[in-house]
Symmetry: C2
Subunit: 193 residues, 2 copies
């Protein structure tokens, strides 16, 4: 008969497995393409397919957990910038970081929708929290004089979401993406006398 002392390592193992499955799934589905599958995730995570399904009963549940985790990580990254010495650098740095992470997020979202999942649950809540932190960073940057004060979060977020998606779809190379960000950053700067 197993005792709690014996049981604990199993729970730790289960938690480690869950984390590893999510990490691998983020990699696999973040790249997109035909070969992305739950089987591939299990293989690369070194677990059986049954273990994957024990943690995530459906592919959609797995993908939503991956997406929620990605949003949580982006939000943690954003949270860490809230106390930055240079709020302008913090805001523009986060903008570039979010744009760079967008292709993976879009690929995972498309896989989620293909798998019959949707956006109502944990992923949507995590996305809302990220948006709030971006709003706080925008206000800080505006107060510091680094971003024009006649813009508000809705259009800034639409700009961020829009260029991220368009850049991913148009498969812009790094240089074109840098030029695109330069246009947006110059446009957001309080450059009018």
């Amino acid at each position: 008969m197993s005792t709690p002392a014996v049981g604990r390592p199993q729970r730790v193992d289960a938690r480690a497995n869950r984390g590893r499955i999510l990490d691998v799934a983020g990699e696999v589905f973040g790249k997109g393409g035909e070969s992305a599958s739950t089987e591939e995730v299990a293989r690369l995570a070194g677990v059986g397919i049954g273990t994957v399904f024990r943690h995530f009963p459906t592919k959609a549940a797995l993908l939503e957990a991956v997406l929620a985790r990605e949003f949580d990580r982006l939000r943690e990254h954003a949270d860490a910038l809230l106390g930055a010495a240079d709020p302008g650098e913090a805001f523009f740095g986060l903008f570039a970081h979010l744009a760079a992470r967008a292709p993976a997020k879009i690929a995972i979202t498309e896989a989620l929708l293909d798998a019959g999942g949707d956006w109502d649950g944990d992923a949507a809540r995590a996305s809302d929290r990220l948006r709030q932190t971006v709003g706080a960073l925008l206000r800080h940057a505006q107060q510091a004089g680094a971003v024009r004060t006649d813009v508000e979060l809705p259009e800034v977020y639409a700009l961020l979401a829009g260029i991220s998606r368009a850049a991913a779809r148009a498969q812009l190379d790094e240089e074109a993406m840098a030029r695109l960000l330069a246009v947006v950053f110059d446009g957001l700067a309080p450059h009018r006398a």
Copy 2:
């Protein structure tokens, strides 16, 4: 027995019907929503559903023709600006026009994909022609000193496509959209000394 002289008005009628069906379908599917249907198009165009299907054997064929026509019209609008006295005004005016027309185009595209159609045919060719004209207007505006010369068409087009789509999805109101365009236009201006 009908003579060519009698036959001609019938062909004219058929052509007029086709044009009216496309106009109405552009309106109906451009608004999107649940009520958009081929039946609704026939009703509002004042023709039988059989007439619609005689011209467009499938819903996808109808929607692709609507989309191709919309792109052709946008390209005609853009072509007319090629000889404008103020190339900067022409370029920025077209950018704003395309962004304003984008929600309808997106709704029609989504209906097309839902109907099992795709983007390989007339609509894609019409879209390519529009892109070429936008490229010519961009070069004119750059030569006139109205747009910074360190941007190229791929990122400008990605910016246009991205903010159009994001603005439609986020349902930005007119004022937020104007602020968004102000950021982009200021960013595209050659404002650095």
